[in-house]
């Protein structure tokens, strides 16, 4: 199974099998956004409950592959308790790591990998272009949820 270790790191499989923050939140006060991967049918629901400008709670629903589910799970732990600017920065950096940002911030992204903690495990996905959409699905959906919060506010 050579080549696959890059994709399926231990930690990814762990988040896949034991997803964190799974479930729903009552809306309102939470908002929920649904994301689709049109290519494979994966779906994610991202519930966020804000406390002022901070994500007080987050839950993940839906179904998907190991990459999509583990990325969502890791994301949920990474953003909980962060304010919207920090979250946006994280989204930006995550997408840069997935090389899907229009302006790729050069090697900056790589240098910052350490701070990514567990998320860095998803780096190997870049070598499997079709799977990038799996990894970014939850992040794009979170972004939309934040936009919804902003519009409502």
């Amino acid at each position: 199974m050579s080549g696959l270790e890059d994709l399926y790191r231990e930690i990814i499989l762990d988040h896949y099998k034991n997803p964190r923050n799974q479930g729903e939140l009552p809306t309102p006060p939470a908002v929920v956004e649904q994301g689709h991967n049109p290519l494979c049918g994966d779906e994610v629901f991202v519930y966020i409950e804000m406390d002022g400008d901070t994500i007080a709670d987050i839950k993940i629903g839906g179904q998907g592959c190991s990459i999509s589910r583990s990325s969502a799970s890791m994301m949920s732990t990474a953003v909980k308790g962060k304010n919207s600017e920090e979250v946006h920065e994280l989204i930006h950096r995550f997408k840069a790591m997935m090389s899907v940002e229009e302006e790729r911030p050069g090697h900056e992204g790589e240098a910052d990998l350490k701070e990514f903690g567990e998320l860095a495990a998803l780096q190997g996905v870049v070598k499997f272009p079709v799977r990038i959409k799996c990894a970014t699905l939850a992040w794009n959906t979170l972004n939309q949820a934040l936009e919804r919060v902003q519009q409502a506010g």
Binding site: M1, S2, G3, L4, L7, Y8, L13, L39, C40, G41, D42, E43, Q63, G64, C65, S66, I67, S68, R69, F128, R131, C134
Partner: protein, 424 residues
Amino acid sequence: MDSLSATEIDQMDRVGNRTVAEIRKDFPIYRRAQDSAFVFLDSGASSQKPTAVLDAMDTYYSTTHANVHRGVYAIAERATELYENARVTLGRFIGAPKPAREIVFTKNATEAINLAAYSLARNLLRSESVVVLTEMEHHANLVPWMILKEQIGFEIRYIPFDADGFLDLSHLDEILDGSSIVAATMASNVFGTLTPIKELAEAAHSKGAIFLADGAQYVPHYKIDVKELGIDLLAMTGHKMLGPTGIGALWGREELLKKMPPFMGGGDMIEDVRLDGFTPNEVPYKFEAGTPPIAEAIGLAEAVRYLEAIGMDEIRLHEESLLDYALKTIGENFGDSVVVYGPTDATKKGGVVSFTMEGVHPHDLSQILDQSGVCVRAGHHCAKPVMKRLGVGATARASFYIYNDKSDVDSLVEALAKAQAFFA
């Protein structure tokens, strides 16, 4: 599987009087793949192409290319002739009574269905109309109707399917009541199940409705006679039947095509254009706007000749034997940990096995199989309503064609076992 007879094995390793090993020599992709395993089980998405098809297109480009229907010089005439002959070749292949006038070339099956839908809608559909589809359609035979519904506001009704992936006809009469158009796939691209097309066509006609068949998954694998089936319109796609990408076709009864208004406008589809309006050309040209996929039509005709030389009945027999073996082997090896969707009787379906493996998402499964050179599709197969009914987001799908043999099924099963171990 020690119960396999020599005949059964033989059936899997040859198509008619040619061995799969020989057939593979006709497909250049198997040459490239000699040093690494290449177990291509995704012909349901798109088939590979034989050298003859590629050569037909190259020869055309290298000796005769010019735009069709308009040139008076020799290569333009020859190009026109080749293009029109391709129409006749495809028409005869499906039993079209008037092949030269009933085949409309499109870029794929999707355009064929959109063409039919947009054109029929204009004359036939009002807000109070009813269009009947089935719940197991490919998006290609769902979304065009939904787009038109948004604009016109008619009702869409669905013929449901049962747990085995067969259409449930128990309420057919009711469902079809008041319908103007009935459109159904001939073979499910998820289950492989065959739909009772003749029966559906008759039922539609008894209500005065027009019957459109989506033959994308059927025409590449079965002998078909549109007249015998009694259908009105048939959508086909070239790339699933050994032909190139960029070509498909709509067949229609001449009388019906004549009544249908044009869809896209442009060169070639007109008889006259004035600043205040236009007069459409005769069928089938009325529906072919702009420069058509000329080389692609020529390539598709060559694919049809290739299929005919092998024999459609032989192809079906071959696929059925592979399917039968695959269903049995998967069952024996994985028991309940692999769920196969659709009937388990190989005689009632095309060469398609959709399945899920417990604990391994189809996406991951496909990725891991790829490490063993096994190519299967993973996803919703452009049939999201079917997925919803099955209660899954996606399935994995293996599909067979003339270049597959017993060893491919064995490779699949081996790779599945590895995947199961990896995610255990």
